[in-house]
Assembly symmetry: C2
Homo-oligomer: 203 residues x 2
Amino acid sequence: MSKKGILVVFSGPSGAGKGTILAEYLRRSPKAVCSVSATTRKLRPGEVDGVHYHFVTREAFEEMIRQGEVIEYTEYNGNYYGSPAGPIRRQLEEGRDVILEIEVKGAQQVRAKFPEALSIFVMPPTFEELRRRLTGRGTENEEQIRARLQTARVEVAMAPDYDYIVVNDVVSEAADRLGYIIEAARCSRKFNQEFIQDILSQT
Amino acid sequence: MSKKGILVVFSGPSGAGKGTILAEYLRRSPKAVCSVSATTRKLRPGEVDGVHYHFVTREAFEEMIRQGEVIEYTEYNGNYYGSPAGPIRRQLEEGRDVILEIEVKGAQQVRAKFPEALSIFVMPPTFEELRRRLTGRGTENEEQIRARLQTARVEVAMAPDYDYIVVNDVVSEAADRLGYIIEAARCSRKFNQEFIQDILSQT
């Protein structure tokens, strides 16, 4: 089997539980890492450069775009957000599985550039459950909830573009499934071209 | 997720360890079953009808072929061997994963008829290792070994047609991988069309 890591695109609507599943999965799999995004927005109190984001200037970000050094990016509220290619490439080469927690548009960009990337969409068991989770937070007013639900609808409609659907009913089971999918990918034909060629050349 | 079982095509050259991996996997996963083949050859001492094979007459087998009731079959040494469709369909409906341990030509037939089937090819870590395993049995003469190796070459050349490659270095790890692949398949887009449609209809 190839010794390279697996690139994983991990998306899903807000409230589906992406962060909780990832935290649980990373706790179990020291081999996996989450890619740290770069952004041009200002560092907020409590945030650490290189941990929450790589904080860079607008000029630096645009230079990265020109150099093809971001594998996906978006502009939101006047700030850039994106995944820097360098660390991802290095970690994959080191045999680490790199997980990109990104939204559906970024996922499209990654899939277009890296057809070998594994794409996973996290779903609530029902849309009603998502509604409950978004409403239950109690930190947002009705209009904000409506806007979030509308975004969720648009995102869920992209699920059929992903390789895998992970239903988040029980977090530990969803993390199990994430693990199965990544380990299975290591056995995929796509990932074992070299090994197959190698063994064929010995026959 | 769908409650139906997964249909798994499991192939690999003689000596790759298919039987050992399957025995280990079935021991762990009571939900999975191996399909019992039908054959027209005579029952041998120690064999049990319905366990080792379904022993049927030539007429009965040919009638099954006409009715489309075998999902793959081959003729070998004047006898038919094939996988009866009825029990497989029933077990899948009951939510059991059905594993077909079949050779590469049968696998082609199954893939053509059931594109949703998962196909897995078991490989020795190296071809040299396969040679060692086939030679080490000590039950066959040189010519028989040569013939087996030639068959193995032809079979290994079909590996690129399979969805997954399981390298059998350590049996328990190979059985782990088989499990990851089957569990991942349960999360695949292909297997969750209904769930996706269902949740989209709720939005």
